[in-house]
Point group: C2
Chain length 589, copies 2
């Protein structure tokens, strides 16, 4: 008889044990009529992922355990695999807890703990050593967690050697552009490599800087896609697995090269722990042999193919969840008439609905009428409210107040920053008075080189496009404008005119910065690939320019350290992902 | 013949390879006339500690290796043990590199990698497996690095079992209050436990949030203190070790209980790695038998005994190094007449000299004449410049500007925050115009519960007393006032009057917050000890109050994430030390 598995691709909130429990119970209720043999939830679904140092608060762990016990006791008829932190004799484990017969019957403890990039799992967890295979009737079900499946051998190899038919991996795998395809190639390859039906369940939702993009996947050992969950949305997949282990991939045979169409995954940075692993086989008893009701037919979802669509989806989900999970309903955005604030506003509207988004224009002495018109046109196109407060009165006051101490030094960059800071203050005043979250509008290129004002345009609770380089800002804006047919919400003039901060007469970004395509190329080399200057010089870039930009990046860490969080969409985002010191005199290359 | 060891307790800067090399060479030149058998430098002294993700930039590692080679080649007559990151076949190691005969002759690779609190060493390094014992003539010298010596057995036990006479530990051990005594008890205990002369070398200096406090130590196996380096200052210790291994502590014998006067160290959180370790013995050739010149007599330094003196020393060093290593000469501080800004200004003067410190008073509508007088008296006592800029003009402008959108909602907390933000803007204008670093003045109690204004009083480059709870602010102020005899710089009225933000008429902190002694007690329980509410209730605190304060702590992570860095002085500081999520609905207990 086929093995019926339900995959609950849910969107929990870190720390919200009661809310997460209710969400889990709703999935149980939804799946129950189809009588699955097993219903699985993502990695650390009960606590939310990543709970960070909340894991060090013993009452939280106690409450997790109590909630686990309650879910088990209240649902004795379900067989549940639930990601949760659990205590062992010697510390905390990242576990997949099996609830059966009204109690926590067993737990698989994650063996491969990522401790790079955004991950700090060795800070929080001890590593398991036992590779679990559950026997359920004639089925042998291997269970592992996220990073376990990324390792070239490790846990899955031990489980496959023990004759697993089905391998279930519960993950909380954060998004960056291209990660969807990478993950799909990995899962498909591992299904073939280990000769198993590979059932991959991913979390969905935003948590501070991270977006978990869902898109759970099921692959047969021959590489056939059996199921694909929704991307950037919650989902409940129920499927019948009826393919036994592939004899072709018998692990006692020498490994064959992958057939055409399989992409061998890279595994740089993945830890190898083969020597320490042992097999553990657990008998769950017989499978329920009453035939379950038939499943509704549901073809696999289509993959999101374009990079822009994928990134845009992540930005919308990350924004919606940061706003809602932190208890806000409305947001306010300073609309300058420029491309960054326009894209931010469009994302906010798609994420929250136009009624929850409020625009504020704050024209100053150097604001062009084109900019103001662009902000108004955008607000009109989006159907959001727009208020306007000129900054001149406060600017005149500051100029007068600073005259006694600074004299002519109050001009130049000081005066430019003051304009940005007055705008920051006005936005924050609306936040304080009306309870709106301020969305900041800076892009990754600006944050990288410090072309932004601390407490000015950097002020706000969430920086939606913080990890989006300027060139990609334009590509996303054009893609979004073309998405639904028609002209799209962002005015043509906003897309076409040269970018400017408008903080002094006739200012353009290109007065200070190299053209954005050149800048973005150098930034990507330094930030995402840690390339030496020589390699860029070899590729035709000006060495003095590269050196200057590398120096700007290092020299502006102090600003970024005070920036609001924003959504990671590249392989290396500022924040918890890229951790450079502020005090750092390295300017070598 | 005795073994002569030189300990260079230096203060390098992260990333400054040329500067650090020159500092190392200056120590070599200073020690050379005394012809030490070995001169040692602290953990990662060449790169600075902690270099964080700069370690992931391959050109930096290449430059480290080139600098290592240059130091070796330029000093073929010296035997040098130098902390540096080095590449192995399979990744990066935290190493003690032995330079001898003009080349890098060997390297010990740190085996015990801390990955908790402020430490992320498993993010950056692989763990070594070989426990090195060098033979130099008749001496057997064990070398290990920082965390290795904190483990109850581990590397030192393997080295002691191999007959080491002398154990040299090079460290970069960050300060918190009480750490000096804890470290001294540990080193003394380990000397007895392993029957060796234990030579402990610690880094000195500030690096972003961390202060390394120096105070290198040498203990004989019987617990006698042979040397103590300066605390919070650079030092060069040269000493002759002439005590062979203690036969009483023969590791083949059953371990004896520690004699009276030895404190058994705690080792919670220290990883146990015994199973994986192996011994490695390296012959360095004969000892130079020409008698070296006699050493000048130098009795061990006294320990700093009072907690206030110790913390104050850390705050001064941390402030001086953050300012200077980031290329600033001068700082500006908003002086309110309150205790926090007063203490910050006094620390700045002690750290940088009064000529480099600039005060700014920014009276508003609710500033009392007492406050203004206090600020003036403080500036006079310290001999720092003081300018005054009333904020009323800007406040009037904002109030008028916000009337159209906010009406009566522009009052209350919105208006209070505006006053703080105008002050933040004025300080930042002086920073922009004059190149002065703004020192912020918030204390740990405020940051913990969010009793501070983002972009207002939180604005600035460095938050000197960020990790100092309010009660300790008072104790430090009183201690400093009494330090040199006389009345001290902080006016009596500043010390005596009830704290107030002065943002509305007759405001006092106690309108919003519980009395600081109660607040600080609850904060310490939650932040430093992660205590459940029940334990505090059992100790007589009001459950509703604790719950409210626990909620404030969790609910204000978003503010702290945008706070400037400040100096860690407690076992658990906000920042890289305590990493809670912003989005976090846990409010259980």
């Amino acid at each position: 008889m086929a093995l019926r598995i339900a995959l609950a691709q849910i969107n929990p909130t870190v720390g919200d044990l009661d809310g997460n429990r209710r969400m889990i119970e709703a999935s149980l209720a939804e799946a129950r009529p189809f009588r699955p043999d097993l219903i699985a939830f993502p990695e650390l679904a009960l606590s939310g992922y990543p709970p960070e140092d909340l894991l060090h608060h013993p009452p939280f762990i106690r409450d997790v355990e109590e909630t686990l016990g309650r879910i088990a006791a209240d649902h004795p008829g379900d067989r549940i695999l639930l990601g949760a932190p659990i205590r062992g004799d010697d510390g905390l484990y990242n576990a997949a807890v099996l609830l059966q017969g009204g109690r926590a019957a067993h737990a698989y403890r994650k063996c491969t703990l990522p401790n790079y990039g955004v991950f700090d799992e060795k800070r929080h967890f001890r590593a398991g050593r036992l590779c679990t295979v559950y026997r359920l009737g004639r089925w042998r079900i291997a269970v592992n967690i996220c990073e376990d499946i990324w390792a070239p051998c490790g846990v899955p190899a031990v489980q496959a050697a023990a004759g697993a038919d089905v391998m279930l991996n519960i993950s909380s795998s954060p998004f960056h552009a291209g990660k969807g395809r990478e993950r799909e190639e990995l899962i498909r390859y591992r299904a073939w490599q280990h000769g198993v039906c590979l059932v991959y369940l991913n979390l969905v939702g935003g948590q501070d800087e991270l977006v978990f993009d869902g898109e759970s996947l099921v692959f047969a050992p021959d590489g056939e896609l059996l199921a694909r969950g929704l991307r950037f949305e919650t989902d409940l997949l129920i499927l019948d697995v009826d393919r036994p282990r592939s004899p072709a991939a018998d692990p006692s045979q020498a490994p064959a090269p992958p057939p055409d169409g399989f992409v061998q995954p890279r595994h740089e940075g993945i830890e190898e722990i083969e020597d320490e692993l042992r097999l553990e086989e657990i008998d769950l008893g017989p499978q329920d042999t009453n035939p379950p009701p038939p499943l509704p037919r549901r073809p696999p979802q289509h993959r999101i193919e374009t990079q822009e669509a994928e990134i845009y989806g992540a930005l919308c989900l990350g924004t919606r969840d940061y706003v809602r999970k932190n208890g806000f309903t409305d947001v306010v955005i300073g609309l300058s008439g420029g491309i960054d604030s326009a894209l931010t506003a469009v994302i906010a509207c798609d994420a929250l609905g136009a009624a929850s988004v409020h625009g504020l224009t704050m024209p100053g002495p150097y604001t062009s009428s084109t900019s103001l018109a662009g902000a108004r046109e955008l607000a009109g196109n989006l159907g959001i409210s727009l208020a306007s407060i000129p900054i001149d009165e406060a600017l005149a006051a500051y100029r007068a107040m600073l005259d006694s101490t600074l004299r002519e030094k109050r001009l130049g960059i000081t005066d430019e920053n003051l304009q940005a800071r007055i705008r920051g203050n006005l936005l924050m005043a609306h936040s304080n008075a009306l309870g709106w979250l301020v969305l900041t509008t800076g892009n990754k290129s600006e944050f990288a080189v410090g072309y932004c004002t601390l407490y000015g345009d950097m002020a706000g609770g969430f920086a939606v496009i913080k990890d989006v380089p300027k060139g990609l800002v334009y590509r996303l804006a054009r893609w979004r404008n073309g998405r639904d047919g028609g002209a799209g919400p962002i005015p043509g003039d906003t897309l076409e005119r040269p970018p400017s901060a408008e903080l002094r007469p006739d200012q353009e970004d290109s007065d200070t910065l190299p053209p954005y395509p050149v800048l973005d190329r150098i930034l990507e080399a330094r930030i995402e690939r840690e390339e030496p200057i020589e390699r860029l010089v070899g590729a035709g870039c000006d060495p003095a320019l590269i050196r200057k930009i590398y120096g700007w990046i290092d020299g502006n860490e102090y600003k970024r350290r005070q920036a609001p969080p924003g959504i990671k969409i590249t392989p290396r985002a500022f924040g918890r992902d890229r951790r450079y010191p502020i005090t750092n005199r390295y300017r070598g290359s």
